[in-house]
């Protein structure tokens, strides 16, 4: 009897204590003169609901594991220097916030993949306003849900693709919000694998060795208003469904095997209002079906759109094609995609009834780009007079270029 009442008593006591504690969430200060000298000590002493305030200064700590529902907040941008001994912060619990830090010098380890901030199987985390420098992986989310990665500045020192990590690495996550980050000097700027229902908005990803953004097996995501500049191979979206891409800028991805945007095995996507400027290939479409490209600007690319023959039922509507060396190229003799209402700067037709639509259809594939697709050596004739002549002849008497690859209603004015 007494044991039962004792149990009840202790349960009530602990409940009261617990609620008391969470009602008065404490602030734990960390600095040289504070109660806690190291972040690790403060983490050990903290309880759910606490805030750990880290004052400015350098903290030579690594592998800081957060197992409680706390907020870790840096004031005056304190620096966590892992001194190449391990990872920075590892979050194993839901409802954790990390903000205001500068995290440096994370170890390179191909087995454990250490990161500046790593989140493992936790929900509702917020990683905001941190700076990462020379962190193997900067932010690494594995099995996370409803997390936010906001306004971080990430700079890596990647030298080769095989020896470097990704800026923001997302694996098997759901409902994330990745916004306003600046990422450079990594293998992939943002990498997604098995991620769904997430938003990637307003990030600036540049000078990464491979892709600025890399999608694999990630359905129902949206990315908009991002800028991808001077990345080794641009942006790759592969093996995914229902992707929305709006208002992004793909710029200066210029090199031998570089794309603005590589779409491979992508189904049911929407591309709207993006700018492709000075890429070797603006969009490279391979095995991708039912994608709508509406109102995009393709300006000064080598190839604006390279649509391989295994891409079906894509709609290319109301886009601007300006100053591209080749507008469309394709290796197929038939086109299974719809082109309509686009503005082509090379269009030489007329508009007699002044309805804004050209009266004769436009064939966006030039003879030379067909030849080039079949025998790539002919690139040596680029900008030769004979190429212009052949294209002109083909335009007057079409015989080689695909009959069905045609814009029946080319726009007469530039689309706005």
């Amino acid at each position: 009897m007494s044991s039962i009442s004792g149990l009840i008593f202790s349960a009530v006591f602990f409940f009261a204590l617990n609620s008391f504690c969470s009602a008065t969430a404490r602030d734990l200060n960390v600095c040289n003169e504070c109660e806690y000298k190291t972040i690790a000590d403060a983490l050990l002493a903290s309880e759910d609901g606490d805030r750990i305030i880290v004052k400015s200064g350098e903290y030579k700590e690594h592998d800081l594991a957060i197992n409680k529902e706390i907020s870790l907040i840096g004031e005056g941008r304190p620096e966590i220097n892992a001194e190449l001994k391990g990872a920075g912060i590892v979050i194993n619990r839901s409802n954790v916030t990390v903000s205001g830090f500068k995290i440096r010098n994370v170890d390179v380890n191909y087995l454990s993949e250490p990161a500046g901030v790593r989140v493992e199987y936790s929900d509702n985390c917020i990683i905001r306003n941190n700076e990462f420098e020379n962190t193997f992986f900067a932010v690494y989310l594995a099995g996370a849900k409803k997390c936010e990665v906001l306004e971080n500045k990430i700079a890596g020192l990647a030298r080769t693709e095989s020896s470097s990590g990704n800026g923001i690495h997302l694996w098997k996550c759901r409902e994330l919000n990745i916004s306003g980050n600046e990422i450079s000097g990594h293998r992939d700027g943002i990498y997604l694998e098995f991620v769904s229902s997430s938003f990637i908005d307003g990030n600036f990803s540049n000078k990464n060795l491979r892709y600025g953004l890399h999608f694999m097996f990630s359905d129902s995501n949206s990315y908009s208003q991002n800028t991808f500049e001077t990345n080794g191979a641009g942006v790759a979206v592969m093996y995914s469904k229902f992707i929305i891409m709006k208002g992004n800028t793909f710029r200066n991805n210029w090199g031998e095997s570089s794309y603005g945007l590589l779409l491979k095995e992508l189904y049911d996507g929407l591309l709207e209002g993006n700018l492709f400027y000075k890429n070797t290939a603006g969009i490279h479409l391979e095995g991708s079906n039912r994608i709508e490209m509406i109102g995009n600007d393709f300006i000064e690319n080598g190839w604006a759109l390279n649509a391989l023959g295994n891409s079906y039922d894509n709609k290319i509507l109301n886009n601007n094609f300006i100053n591209n060396t080749f507008d469309i190229s394709s290796n197929a003799s038939k086109s299974n995609n719809t082109y309509s209402g686009n503005y082509w700067d090379k269009y030489k037709g007329y508009d007699l009834n002044r309805d804004g639509t050209g009266d004769i259809p436009y064939r966006p594939v030039s003879l030379f780009s067909m030849i080039l697709e079949k025998s790539p050596e002919s690139i040596i004739m680029l900008r030769s007079i004979i190429v212009d002549l052949l294209d002109a002849v083909e335009r007057i008497v079409p015989s080689v270029i695909p009959e069905t690859l045609i814009d029946e209603k080319p726009s007469f004015q530039k689309r706005t």
Binding site: E256, T325, P376, E377
Partner: protein, 256 residues
């Protein structure tokens, strides 16, 4: 003696209506191109196309016309105690220098607007090289044919061949034999045509070279390397020297 004939021919030509018009026309074109395109690389590539089209044509046709027109002057000079070599050299250099001056003057507006860049330098070198090569060819066709019409006709055929038909043959070769590894053959073939050489050398200096891609890598490897530049410069020099010496051989034995 040679110098004084050269000076006379050069300054006489420089004052001629044709050379002045030619220079002004090139200058207007390069001014227009540089003014309306905001990109230095694009300007260079457009100018390159124009230069590779116009300079060979003008040099071939005007070279032939000039040679026939100065026939009486040459005959008069040959009655004086000067060797045929001296007269020919002075005529050739006088004309090429005058045409080069006009070509460089034509490029100056673009250089002023865009600054002195690697591609501008290349463009200038290519223009001068083209002038030397095609004036030599013009003199060759004029020494072969005593008749003016035939000489000019041969010049036009030469231009058609090197500017258009040669490239057409290469394209056909590439299409017909696309199952075979053609890279080295294409490199040899394009080195045989000065117009193609000029085009490829400048192309590799611009960022259009990135479009060469995977298969173009071997071209880039060759033409971008020091060996490639030495070989193509050598080919250009041969294109200047061979027509010149062939023409001078014929000129020495020519009956006037």
């Amino acid at each position: 003696m040679s110098i004084s004939i050269l000076k006379y021919v050069f300054f006489d030509l420089l004052r001629s209506r044709f050379i002045i018009t030619y220079g002004i026309m090139l200058a207007l074109i390069s001014l227009g191109v540089a003014y309306f395109s905001n990109d230095e690389m694009k300007t260079s590539l457009t100018l390159l196309n124009i230069i590779l089209f116009i300079i060979p044509l003008v040099c071939l046709i005007f070279g032939s016309i000039h040679f026939y027109d100065s026939g009486e002057f040459i005959e008069f000079l040959l009655t004086q105690p000067v060797s045929r070599n001296t007269v020919f050299r002075a005529e050739y250099l006088g004309l090429t220098l005058a045409l080069s001056v006009a070509a460089i003057a034509g490029l100056i507006p673009a250089i002023i607007l865009n600054g002195i860049t690697v591609s501008a330098l290349f463009l200038t070198i290519i223009s001068v090289a083209m002038t030397f090569i095609f004036t030599g060819l013009a003199f060759l066709s004029s020494t072969i044919n005593t008749e003016k019409v035939r000489g000019i006709g041969l010049s036009i055929v030469l231009w058609l061949f090197l500017a258009i038909i040669f490239d057409l043959i290469i394209v056909l070769l590439i299409i017909l034999f696309r199952d075979y590894p053609l890279e080295n053959l294409i490199i040899i073939f394009t080195s045989l045509n000065p117009i193609d050489l000029g085009r490829i050398l400048l192309l590799l200096k611009t960022d259009a070279s990135a479009m060469m891609g995977f298969t173009g890598a071997s071209f880039k490897l060759f033409f971008g390397s020091t060996t490639g530049i030495v070989v193509s410069s050598l080919a250009m020099f041969l294109w200047i020297l061979i027509p010149y010496f062939l023409a001078i051989r014929i000129f020495r034995k020519k009956n006037f």
